[in-house]
Subunit: 421 residues, 2 copies
């Protein structure tokens, strides 16, 4: 079966000057990939008529599917719709269904009074040569054009509107138009060892893979994802062929293996806690709520997560967590003793089975000769036992916080797994 290629074109000066990070492309890539479309290229261009036109010309030589996002909002810097209309030789006409929807949103959802704005009404104009894709979440409709067996789709750039349109309209239509091969990815997730060392463990495995199965290393904040990719006619056959390789790979890295799924540490920990019917809490100093945020990003985490004390000041470490004044004076806030006492305090205050604590210096300020920026103490414990770990990080503030979070969650995971209970 032939590969079906797609190109994604994102439009907006803000993407090129780095004011906005392009998360839309990543989502579109994921959704296309799931149904067997190979994303060949992703191009971002500015709000420049000729550049957008040229990108359409170039990408339709590369791909059968061209998805364009951005440039459909209600403000004046948007040029995409008239451009698409010219590109496909149509003219703009008011679509009554879209108009009714815009009116409904304006009056019922946004609860606006008074007459609709000219710029809102304009959202109901579409090229007469396109198929309208209903945008249930906003006023800018999606549009689908066909030319020479290729499909062009234009979506608004607002992420939740784009996502809804991809799922409800775009993917179902693409599945009807093209016969796609099955693309299968299997990702194993490791923590505690770098890319080079993992590659050493896999130095005989990788060259022995069949040519059509590819291995990729994806490092991310102290964790490395190992991804096998293959494709074929049926998902079942591809999965079956890949399975023994995927299992062998996991055996080779088993010491560092966290999960056989492409999932995060916070999801893995949630599953373990659910299976054991246990609860956790956190006491964060240097990570400042980041670990709590990760844990609570998982739907249903309130079933096992009671909460956190973000003890950014020493006063809160003493008052809320009962860390000894003496300890803070002598050993200091960034010390093994302090994180141990933070674990104890969190276990008590939050009434949980396990607690995790962090304290460190994230930078750029706050370092000293004895404790330079990047010095971190972590502790995980239950009422019977506490395990600690020290880190020496050497990155910027954001990355130090992320690295501490990842290492702390991995310590907690190992602690819970080693707990006989």
């Amino acid at each position: 079966m032939n590969t079906v290629n797609a190109s994604i074109i994102t439009i907006g000066d803000e993407l090129l000057i780095g004011q906005t990070i392009d998360t839309n492309s990543a989502f579109i890539g994921q959704e296309l990939n799931k149904v067997g479309v190979w994303v060949k290229r992703r191009v971002a261009v500015g709000d420049v008529y000729d550049d957008i036109w040229q990108a359409l010309d170039q990408e339709c030589k590369q791909s059968q599917i061209i998805i364009v996002t951005g440039g459909l909002g209600p403000t004046a810097d948007d040029i995409t719709k008239p451009l698409l209309c010219n590109y496909f030789g149509g003219k703009l006409v008011v679509n009554e269904k879209v108009l009714a929807h815009v009116r409904h949103l304006f009056e019922k959802v946004f609860r606006r009074t008074g007459p609709m704005l000219e710029r809102n009404l304009k959202q109901a104009e579409v090229p007469d040569v396109c198929t309208v894709l209903h945008n249930a979440r906003g006023s800018a409709p999606g549009m689908l054009f066909k030319r020479e067996g290729k499909i062009f789709i234009s979506l608004p750039g607002v992420p939740h509107e784009m996502k809804g349109l991809m799922r409800d309209e775009v993917i179902p239509r693409l599945l009807k138009e093209f016969k796609m091969p099955a693309i299968v990815h299997r990702t194993a997730f490791t923590a505690g060892q770098g890319e080079s060392m993992l590659a050493e463990l896999l130095n005989e495995f990788e060259p022995a893979l069949p040519a059509h199965i590819k291995l990729a290393y994806l490092p991310n904040y102290g964790m490395v994802k190992l991804r096998l990719t293959s494709q074929g006619n049926s998902k079942e056959d591809v999965e079956k062929e890949m399975l023994p390789y995927f299992e062998k790979m996991q055996v080779l890295v088993k010491e560092f293996l966290v999960s056989s799924e492409d999932e995060n540490l916070e999801v893995v920990i949630g599953k373990i806690l659910r299976a054991r019917n246990k609860t956790i809490g956190t006491a964060e100093s240097c990570t400042g709520g980041y670990i709590a945020h990760l844990i609570t990003s998982v739907p249903g985490s309130s079933d096992y997560y009671n909460g956190s004390v973000v003890s950014y000041s020493n006063q809160v470490k003493e008052n809320a967590l009962g860390v000894g004044h003496e300890t803070l004076e002598t050993a200091g806030a960034v010390s093994e003793d302090t994180v141990k006492q933070m674990v104890k305090g969190a276990l008590q205050l939050l009434k949980v089975d396990y607690a995790l604590a962090t304290s460190g210096i994230m930078g750029p300020g706050g370092g000293s000769e004895e404790k330079p920026v990047g010095t971190v103490w972590i502790a995980a414990g239950s009422k019977d036992k506490v395990e600690t770990m020290q880190l020496h990080l050497r990155f910027d503030r954001q990355r130090n916080i992320a690295m501490t979070g990842g290492n702390a969650l991995n310590l907690l995971r190992k602690f819970i797994l080693s707990d006989p209970d």
Copy 2:
């Protein structure tokens, strides 16, 4: 002065299938833009020899500067270096300076013992037709090639290595090679009003702008940034010409204006607190530490932020924050009374001047007929007064958390500013 164009090429299947979000391009775009380089296109291609080659061919027709990232790591899926070597007609040779640096990193920084791995040694090989750019933070060197007056630069994809190379090596070299025009952006930051309504306030202002000054609307989680862009020969002249327009724009949207800088709410709040010598704390239920994380992402935030109680369970709301059992039973955890009491509890436990509290249902589960998913209560207060706000959100979990965080910080900002103290 002619515009100097750049194209950014990022390499990696993980970008195309959406497993990794491309933050590198955004950073590179920012840095180039600051020195007057216009990023014309940003292209992502997979780990496919022909696709990378074609991207180089295409982009050097568009731009004088081509920056390539990714594909230089120590594992076997990397094909960029040999490709660049062929593309520029060179051969790979060991660079003694890079070799010494790789050895230093291996032995001193990573504190590895035993012989270096073949794959680490390979990092010291570079095409003999390139200028090596020293990578102080990692083992993969940057490379610079020149052809027909164009500059090609290859950087590793590890973000902190790429960033260091951009700042220390790439930008200074580009400033020597090209005479760049000055590009000036001024961004005003608004909250509490949507894109369409802001556009109405600016409906006479925008068409009256000189043709070379562009206005862009950048909506982001309940906030909208308004950006003016212009360019010319000298930064001073462009800034001077833009100033009256920028000031007029701010007057027109003054009711919703948060800041005249391109900065976040948490930075704005930090500045206000510093100026007034006040402290804050938070009590988060539904945002689960996200607000604490935002506040503590700002360097030096420990000067005014004492901490947070992430009271994810009702028990913690009662025990740590003193929310009444009766209130939780009758009004419920998601209620105005509860967030008011959470503010009181946080003020006491965290010993702060101002406190902020959130409680809501972020979804996908947990909703009821009376309180559907997206119901949120927020409160901001001091010992004398508490202000509350209710939200009805209609997004997915991550976006509901982000929207609650933004609205809560804006409520806190307004509360502090309205406080006579």
